[in-house]
């Protein structure tokens, strides 16, 4: 079994957009999708942490994907969507511009991320999928949520 994509079945990705880019997150790690609102800022938090929010009585840390990927910040007041993922037993909310449909991605559509991808992206991208709708950038939640050393590398 090869490590990165073990199965021959089409995998499911949740499509989302970030500053016009078409990205996806693996469906199995997504717990919830909701409107990103009422986020409490956490001063002094690492860059990329948008704050904390109340998800039905649980406190969830929100991460701004634009910031993680080195994209310009969203317009103030622009709508944000919150994709709740589970990582190491904790829930996190990943903030995106919009959420699209769930897409099956067949193994043959998969390509490696090109070397020329910007540094902030390369650290967080799992693969590129060539779909009929266009290129889908698959993000790796674990890497997006690895703060500290990686964050510096990703946001330098």
């Amino acid at each position: 079994m090869s490590a990165p994509t073990p199965s021959a079945e089409p995998r499911l990705l949740l499509g989302l957009t970030l500053a016009g880019r078409f990205c996806g997150l693996p469906v199995p790690c997504v717990r919830d999708v909701l409107r990103g609102e009422a986020i409490t800022r956490v001063p002094l938090a690492p860059p990329g942490v948008a704050g904390v929010l109340n998800l039905r009585g649980r406190i969830v840390t929100a991460v701004e994907l634009r910031s993680r990927l080195g994209l310009p910040a969203a317009e103030p007041g622009a709508a944000r969507m919150s994709i709740v993922v589970e990582h190491e037993g904790e829930l996190y909310s990943l903030l995106a511009d919009a959420v699209r449909e769930v897409l099956p991605v067949p193994p043959e559509a998969r390509a490696m991320a090109p070397e020329t991808l910007g540094e902030a992206w390369r650290g967080h991208v799992a693969a590129i999928h060539q779909l009929a709708e266009g290129l889908l950038i698959e993000l790796d939640p674990a890497r997006l949520l690895a703060f500290g050393r990686d964050a510096e590398a990703g946001l330098a």
Binding site: A38, T40, V42, P43, L44, V52, I59, V60, T61, E90
Partner: protein, 858 residues
């Protein structure tokens, strides 16, 4: 007793399960940590059975502990035979316990062979010692223990048959299905496991959130059919939450109930007369916390009885009453519970502690030389430390104090010890009320809200128009609070929400005076909301490095809020509050134990001088040119007035261009500058003053910051500089009693009154005020709220006027109801004055009138 035995069985069974694994691990690879753990477990078992009078259990556990002690100290190598023998003793303990669970009494049996086996292994030349020879302590113990045994088995054999209410039999049976006989018992209380309560707590919190959301929706819809039921739902939800919280609270006396018997038995065993006095047992705290302090408390009381108190003979010689006293007290202090265990024994033998610390390699000689007595005393909290000369069955195996400290610190508490040779030892434990819910003061910086643990908030001060003004030391804002300079941390700037404050900027907001590990500081915030009970939740791992926050929580309105950690904030702000931490930990309750001292040099002398910082209004460095000679001496134009200057010792005018350092004293309109050579430091230390005979201008000398220092007699210098300085006040500081049930309001009014020159004592209700009267406290005036739970202001007034030492005191009512009819009623009731809350000037004026009226009448 029955409940306790059931609990003992449960606890011990758990401990035994742990022991088996640990011992097996020990045999495979002996390491110090495992040994220490096993030793402690056995020690606990032994300690508990000793107190129940379970002599078989205690005998076996004691022998096993003896052997384990030698293993732990490395005096014997761990051998398989040894481990087998300890395992055999654990089996024996288990058998005895099974019998205990069944019949309520220790089953008959003889453990002599097993004990002999353990003792033989422990004997100096292992294997060759006749059984029983080393058991020096057993004969001492057993008669005492055995004579109590009949108490236990007495009523026990019958209950299962006739269904009589004997919970002792019911408790062990509880894990099994409930039987008819049990159902017939008149059950007033049942045992519920903590996880169940925790779940209920979580559910109740979530229900509150849902309720709040519903209320919000309902508000936006105006009147609807839902309004009425929603109101009910809301009320029920609040009650449910309160109720669930209450289920977790227990009076601290539940952890004390074993102690009287324990102390009595210890007294007999040790041949001492011991009196145990317990106060504040009704203080409530979370069941979980209570569980965790139960053993530490027992250990500490044992230690007091065993090491702390002297025998009757020694006490007689020392001129003390024959009966030693152990005072156990508890009270709530902010959001924490403070428990003190004090004895009037011989105090710690610090020389012996030093020797032992060296012997055990806990410290180097050089380091020891630099330590003060308080540091030395704290060695007793170090693992493997014990001062007991002889190993007794009671304690003195170096187990206990280190365990005590570990257990208490694990739940976010602290423990400290104060000892005075010949006068006794006091252990002070501070523990949080609950681990789950804290009271938080909600503050605002810029647009963000934060929670500050109420336990850390000493008081609130309003700054800006109508309140206090900030002052600046270079670029650092400070607040002068009752004459003390309080460093300020602007929260917005610290957290990067706002630019740094510019020196001299006009600031409006609030200062929350916080008590952190390192000392006091003021948190400058833009706004203060009320306090709220908050459920503390840990922050996500990616935020765990943020020192400023200790957790986060969901507020009643559904918003998430970060909880500030006062200690972390102080560190983040780079506040080095000196060695104040130790002093504060010691004397937080009575801050008079320590004083903030300003150290300086003057008169060209090398000896540092000290003055309580609280007396100094400001520190100034003025240009030499500004000093003028006016009349008899130097003076300076300062803040629009001519301020006389006085040198401390020899003085010569500084060179032009240089500056003159001075301490400015102020009292109303009067000001005086005391000229000094150099400001050295501000330290917070207990002041142990040695009077220095007739040296005018000095109170005496003391060791401060490790150096001999002369302490200035400020009154002398002020009188010298201005003979009329004390002329106008004419009397001591007026003493004021404030009775007010709202903690929030007390935080506002007390500082205002203190800064106006009153010595304020505060009480949360009328009963506490009257208790002060019983104790003989005296005041010059009483300021009381009208609406209070229990006895209200009118009743309190009637009680004061009824007679006794307070009958003639002026009493001023403080109320939010100031309609003409209310005023008339107040005056008719006999209040000297009746004023509105929050009106600082009127309150002060009313007090001034009341007190001066009294003085002129007297």
């Amino acid at each position: 007793m029955d409940d306790l035995i059931a609990e003992f069985l449960t606890e011990t069974n758990e401990a035994l399960a742990e022991l088996d694994t640990a011992l097996v691990q020990l045999e495979r690879a002996p390491d110090g940590e495992t040994l220490a753990r096993i030793f402690r477990l056995v020690h606990t078992v032994k300690g508990t059975c000793g107190f129940f009078g379970l002599s078989r259990l205690e005998g076996v556990a004691h022998a096993a502990e003896n052997l384990l002690g030698l293993y732990r100290d490395g005096e014997r190598a761990v051998t398989p035979e040894g481990v087998s023998a300890v395992l055999a003793s654990i089996d024996a303990i288990r058998t005895i316990m099974a019998g205990l669970a069944e019949t309520g009494a220790e089953p008959p049996g003889d453990d002599a062979a097993l004990r002999a086996r353990l003792e033989a292994l422990a004997a100096p030349e292992a294997g060759a010692v006749p059984p029983g020879q080393e058991a020096l302590t057993e004969p001492l113990l057993e008669p005492a223990a055995e004579c109590e045994e009949p108490e236990l088995p007495g009523p026990l054999p019958t209950p299962a048959n006739d269904g009589a209410p004997t919970p002792l039999a019911a408790a062990p049976a509880a894990p099994a299905a409930g039987t008819g006989a049990e159902a017939a018992l008149p059950v007033q209380a049942i045992r519920v496991s903590l996880p169940v309560l925790d779940d209920l707590m979580t559910l109740a919190s979530e229900l509150v959130l849902v309720r709040n959301q519903l209320l919000q929706v309902a508000r936006s819809q105006g009147d609807s059919a839902f309004s009425a039921p929603l109101q009910r739902l809301s009320r029920i939800t609040s009650e449910l939450q309160e109720g669930v919280m209450k289920t977790r609270m227990q009076p601290v006396s539940a952890a004390w109930s074993k102690l009287p018997r324990l102390v009595r038995d210890l007294g007999q065993e040790l041949g001492k007369r011991i009196e145990l006095v317990m106060t504040g047992g009704e203080t409530e705290l979370d069941r979980q916390v209570l569980e965790l302090i139960r053993d530490p408390l027992t250990h500490m009381v044992r230690n007091c009885a065993d090491h702390g108190l002297e025998g009757p003979e020694e006490r007689r010689r020392a001129g003390k009453p024959e009966a030693g006293r152990i005072l156990l007290s508890a009270r709530q202090e902010g959001g924490r519970i403070l428990i003190q265990i004090a004895d009037d024994g011989r105090g710690l033998d610090l020389d012996r502690v030093r020797r032992r610390a060296l012997e055990r390699g806990l410290v180097t000689e050089a380091a020891l030389a630099g330590m003060d007595d308080a540091d030395v005393a704290r060695f007793v909290f170090r693992p493997g430390f014990s001062t007991a000369e002889a190993v007794t069955a009671v304690s003195g195996r170096g187990v206990g104090m280190d365990v005590v400290r570990t257990n208490i610190e694990r739940i976010g508490g602290s423990v400290d010890l104060r000892s005075s040779a010949g006068r006794g030892t006091t252990l002070t434990i501070r523990i949080p009320l609950t681990l789950a819910i804290i009271s938080g003061l909600i503050v605002q910086a810029e647009a963000e809200r934060f929670a500050v643990p109420q336990a850390a908030v000493v008081e609130l001060v309003r700054v800006g128009p109508g309140g206090a003004t900030l002052e600046w030391v270079n670029v650092a804002p400070v607040l002068r609070l009752r004459g003390q300079l309080l460093p300020l941390v602007p929260l917005g700037a610290l957290l990067g929400l706002a630019p740094a404050l510019e020196a001299g900027a006009a600031v409006e907001g609030f200062v929350a005076v916080l008590h952190a590990d390192a000392g006091r500081f003021g948190l400058l915030v833009d706004g203060v909301f009320d306090t709220e009970e908050i459920v503390v939740k840990p922050v996500a791992p990616i935020l765990r490095d943020l020192a400023a926050f200790s957790g986060n929580t969901i507020l009643g309105d559904g918003g998430v809020i970060m909880i500030l950690d006062p200690g972390g904030v102080a560190r983040l702000a780079g506040l080095s509050l000196g060695r104040a931490g130790e002093a504060e930990a010691e004397g937080a309750a009575q801050s008079t134990d320590t004083a903030q001292l300003l150290l300086f040099r003057a008169g060209g002398q090398p000896t540092p001088l000290a003055v309580p910082l609280g007396l100094v209004a400001r520190l100034e460095a003025l240009p030499a040119e500004s000093i003028e000679l006016v009349g008899e001496g130097p003076a300076v134009q300062y803040r629009g007035r001519l301020m006389p200057l006085l040198p401390v010792g020899a003085w010569s005018r500084p060179q032009p261009g240089a500056t003159q350092q001075m301490l400015v004293f102020q009292e109303g309109e009067r000001m005086l500058g005391l000229m000094v050579d150099e400001i050295l430091d501000v330290v917070q230390e207990p002041l142990a003053l040695r009077p220095s005979g007739a040296r005018p201008g000095f109170l005496g000398s003391a060791i401060i910051a490790g150096r001999g220092t002369d302490v200035l007699d400020c009154a002398h210098w002020l009188r010298l500089g201005d003979p009329a300085w004390f002329g106008h006040s004419g009397g001591p500081v007026p003493r004021l009693l404030v009775v007010e049930d709202s903690g929030f309001f007390r935080q506002i009014v007390v500082p205002a009154l203190s800064s106006a020159g009153y010595a304020v004592t505060e009480c949360a209700d009328a009963a506490a005020a009257l208790a002060l009267r019983e104790k003989g406290a005296m005041f010059d005036a009483v300021l009381t709220d009208i609406e209070m739970p229990g006895m209200d202001g009118f009743d309190l007034l009637a009680e004061i006027r009824r007679g006794g030492p307070w009958a003639a005191l002026p009493v001023v009512a403080l109320t939010s109801r100031t309609g003409p009819r209310d005023m008339a009623r107040g005056h008719a009731a006999g209040f000297n004055d009746y004023v509105a809350k929050f009106d600082r000037d009127r309150v002060l004026a009313a007090l001034g009138r009341a007190i001066s009226g009294l003085r002129s009448a007297a």
